[in-house]
Symmetry: C2
DNA sequence: TGGCGTCGTGTTGACGTAAACATGGTGACC
DNA sequence: GGTCACCATGTTTACGTCAACACGACGCCA
């Protein structure tokens, strides 16, 4: 039930720390509220003398427009909601930062919810919570394990998502997972490796699936044997575990990791096992996190253009907000924007040992 | 000028994708808006029969309460603002994540602004943007180079900050920088190093100053010579530059870096110079970023308890919000909460070479 | 000089909600 | 059986802002 949740306001109500309003400024300046409103909005049909009086009064009282009242008038909050999963991890914060910045350029602010789990019910609850707050649209970042069928979103709320499970349901913007994984794998094959091992993300994650698939396809296309993949959970710790197993196998000369954090774990495991990188084993990551270039050796990785993704997410969302149309059906092709990625070759990859 | 920025609303205005209101539901259910309001708020002084009629009408129309109107009535959005500097960097996202989570537990959501520069005017502008009725309180995370004198904040807005430059002006919660830097330095001295070099953060950053001071004090207290410090800008790249200089000096056997990212840069520079860590040179960082344990070698560092900091920031802020009092003066001691840090000894530190 | 546009400013009303107050009906108690 | 308390519900009003309209003053041109 959307509307049944009681909202307790007593404490806040008791405070009433309301600031000065148009009326207060108007009284002080000796003009009408409408004139103050005009000055506040920067309209030019106010005499300079009057304007100055009003500005002085505003400054004296510390006036700032009341967003709630404006939102009520306009039916718009100029705010977008963002649901992110484990903000501090991986590319999450990069994307959020880009979304925040893109929104700012458009005059929108961002309200953020961080969910511990990307499952449908948790994301649904977060969306409902946000919709009760003041938002005009919603950006869902990597609701990896949520499916469109089970995700209950408020009606009439524009939505964009940053991964591709929702293609055909909501507009999506995402990095070209497939091309990234393919070129990472191909890079290692081109260096002369017989095959490439893969440390994958969790099986229920769509990006993890796409990357694993592209890795497999690249191997098959090259006629290379396809080793069993090792599944991690995106964390460096899981990469370390995977790395220990891979390090024990002298056949392993090339590892493609589904993200940089797991790659860092693999690197540590290889170091501990005394296997040289890239001399004995080459390693490639995905994401280009800030520290990727300062791991040892500096990590070859697939760089996602987070800024571009954030910008396009916001653009796509505001397009819906402004048109008043929710793109919840229509041509699936149109709904999915793919942002190119680029392979950053650093020093963790080399030809296999002779 | 606080209120002068014109706000364009035409496009949004034209859309008017307004949902059903109390009045619509009331008309359909054949009751007054007030009764609908009571049902919507979950009050119990409504006859079950009437309630059911209203609930049915709500469901039929897909009614959801209008947040703007509620906020206007109450003078509160149940939202707190967070100003962060370079969200994707360092411990920033960890703190933001903790603040978001703590706010959620209290029934508040978080509106986020990410500023590119921590200077006074930029932060002031951000605060103004967030200001007043749109948020009930403001958390400023590391306004490192802003000073209380030049930082113009909206009046009557509860504020907490996460570093200590504002002690005596706003309540602050922060990690125990001094103890962290001291124990990091002492740890290296205890291992037998003659002295400890320091890669500092930018000179205008308060945490950087505190860490550098504590490092110096620890050396002086131990009767060790105090080498010239090397200044970085928190980035791994600057740490790398600093590391190249330090690596060239055979006298250097121990380096304390003001954050983990610069430590990562130093590690890379030492590796490239062929100096073993920790065999030839020991390195300590600060922050315990997610990858710290998976650098090579795993980095000894000072862990900040970001969760605790975030929780206390929110608690402190809501205390002000609820009491309606702004703690902008009073006992400076009371205004500054220090959260303990802990030294995590991993494998990047060892006794100096014989 | 009279009519008419234009410009600066004031007045009214509406956005959706909920508190405060008003009303009318029911039952209890003396 | 009359008074009173109480309960469910309706009516009024205010929150702050801004669009729409109203209005008076001035200047322009016929």
């Amino acid at each position: 039930m959307r509307a049944g949740a009681p909202v307790r306001h007593e404490e806040v109500d008791a405070v009433e720390g309301r600031g000065p309003s148009l009326a207060d400024v108007a009284a002080l300046a000796g003009v009408s509220t409408q004139t103050v409103s005009r000055v506040s909005m920067g309209l030019d049909n106010v005499r300079p003398v009057t304007r100055d009086k009003v500005l002085a009064a505003m400054a004296q009282l510390g006036y700032a427009p009341n967003t709630a009242a404006r939102a009520l008038r306009y039916g718009s909050f100029r705010t977008i909601g963002v649901i992110a999963h484990r903000l501090a991890r991986t590319g999450e914060s990069r994307t959020v930062e880009a979304v925040v910045e893109a929104a700012r350029r458009e005059g929108y602010t961002v309200t953020l919810i961080d969910v511990e789990s990307p499952s449908s019910d948790v994301v649904s609850a977060a969306a409902t919570r946000l919709s009760h707050q003041a938002i005009d649209g919603l950006v869902i970042i990597r609701a990896e394990t949520a499916t469109p069928d089970t995700l209950a979103l408020p009606p009439r709320l524009p939505v964009v998502v940053s991964d591709s499970r929702f293609v055909g349901h909501h507009p999506a913007v995402g990095a070209d997972q497939t091309d990234g994984a393919r070129s990472a794998t191909q890079h290692l094959l081109d260096l002369g490796h017989r095959t490439v091992h893969h440390v994958a993300g969790p099986a229920d994650s769509i990006p993890a699936q796409l990357r694993a698939e592209a890795w497999r396809d690249a191997l098959v296309a090259a006629g290379s044997p396809v080793p069993e993949l090792v599944e991690g959970d995106w964390t460096a710790a899981s990469g370390y575990d995977a790395g220990r197993r891979l390090a024990a196998d002298p056949e392993v000369t090339a590892v493609f990791c589904a993200n940089d954090e797991m790659a860092a774990g693999v690197l540590r495991a290889l170091h501990e096992a005394g296997r040289a990188v890239p001399g004995d084993v080459s390693v490639v990551g995905f994401d280009d996190v800030l520290l990727a270039g300062y791991l040892w050796p500096p990590l070859t990785t697939v760089a996602q253009d987070f800024d571009e993704i954030g910008t396009r997410l916001v653009a796509r969302l505001l397009q819906q907000v402004r048109s008043g149309e929710i793109e919840d059906d229509g041509d699936a092709e149109d709904l999915h924007e793919v942002v190119p990625v680029s392979l950053l070759v650093r020093q963790s990859t080399a030809p296999p040992p002779a």
